[in-house]
């Protein structure tokens, strides 16, 4: 079914939601929020989109792979950032002395925390979106790939 009102509102709202999600994500080290809240907001916009504009099957599949990539990639980014500390002779996940810290209160003021937050935000968004899709389909796919 094709609902004009829903589609128009979704078109207006989704960019706003995503922008807000990005804001929460990027200011995680300055204000309440961060990867979990920001990622969830972004995932909510994706879920909203997929509910309003129902995906064809093939598009679905692509979404799955992308969100899985975000899931694994976000966690791997975290690990790589942590290993940078070891590479420079400090312990795992060292921030001070490895990454430029910047001035307190500014956007770029947290060294690796910002990188980790963005990576994890992607992971959280990917995970929640995947969860939604899986529960929606009810695991109907039988080849067991997902």
């Amino acid at each position: 079914m094709h609902d004009m009102i829903l589609e128009m509102i979704a078109r207006l709202l989704i960019p706003m939601i995503q922008l807000f999600g990005m804001y929460v994500l990027f200011h995680g080290h300055l204000s309440p929020g961060g990867s979990f809240s920001g990622g969830t907001i972004i995932a909510a916009s994706l879920i909203f989109y997929s509910l309003v504009f129902r995906f064809s099957e093939r598009k679905h599949r692509l979404q799955h792979d992308t969100s899985l990539l975000f899931e694994g990639g976000g966690a791997l980014l975290y690990i790589v950032v942590g290993l940078v500390g070891i590479f420079f002779g400090y312990s795992f996940l060292t921030n001070r002395g490895v990454f430029p810290l910047g001035q307190a209160g500014r956007l770029w003021s947290s060294g690796m925390i910002a990188i980790i937050t963005v990576g994890l935000g992607g992971k959280v968004a990917g995970t929640i979106f995947t969860l939604f899709q899986e529960l929606l389909e009810g695991g109907t796919d039988t080849d067991g790939n997902h």
Partner: protein
């Protein structure tokens, strides 16, 4: 009156313990699988409330460095509970996925009926 005063000071602890018992009871005694999951969530929420209220200081502000604010609440429990919430969400999602699979196999959400059906199928 003294006891009422003590209760009003510790009202968060009291409420969280009550919620914990409600969740625990729901989880163990209800047969409906979805209600079990709801009970699990209530129990987790009670624990989060309990944990966060440990770090609460009366009149304290959010722990962000701002000029002019002297009193901050303890940020450690809140940070921990953020992790706790994520764990609880994953448990819930996983439990719901299992419930969907169970419903597909047995056609019911009643734990007793599932056990009966299983006994019939496998002698």
């Amino acid at each position: 009156m003294a006891i009422i005063e003590r209760l009003s000071v510790n009202v968060y602890y009291l409420v969280s313990v009550i919620l914990f018992v409600i969740g625990f009871h729901t989880m163990l005694t209800h047969n409906n699988l979805i209600k079990k999951i709801m009970g699990m969530n209530i129990m987790d929420t009670a624990l989060f409330l309990f944990f966060v209220s440990i770090g609460y200081i009366r009149g304290g502000q959010a722990p962000i460095l701002i000029n002019g604010v002297e009193k901050y609440v303890n940020p450690v429990p809140s940070a921990l509970i953020l992790t706790g919430i994520v764990i609880s969400v994953s448990f819930t999602a996983f439990a719901l996925a299992l419930v969907i699979m169970l419903y597909r196999y047995y056609g019911t959400l009643d734990a007793d009926k599932i056990i009966a059906l299983r006994g019939r199928r496998h002698g």
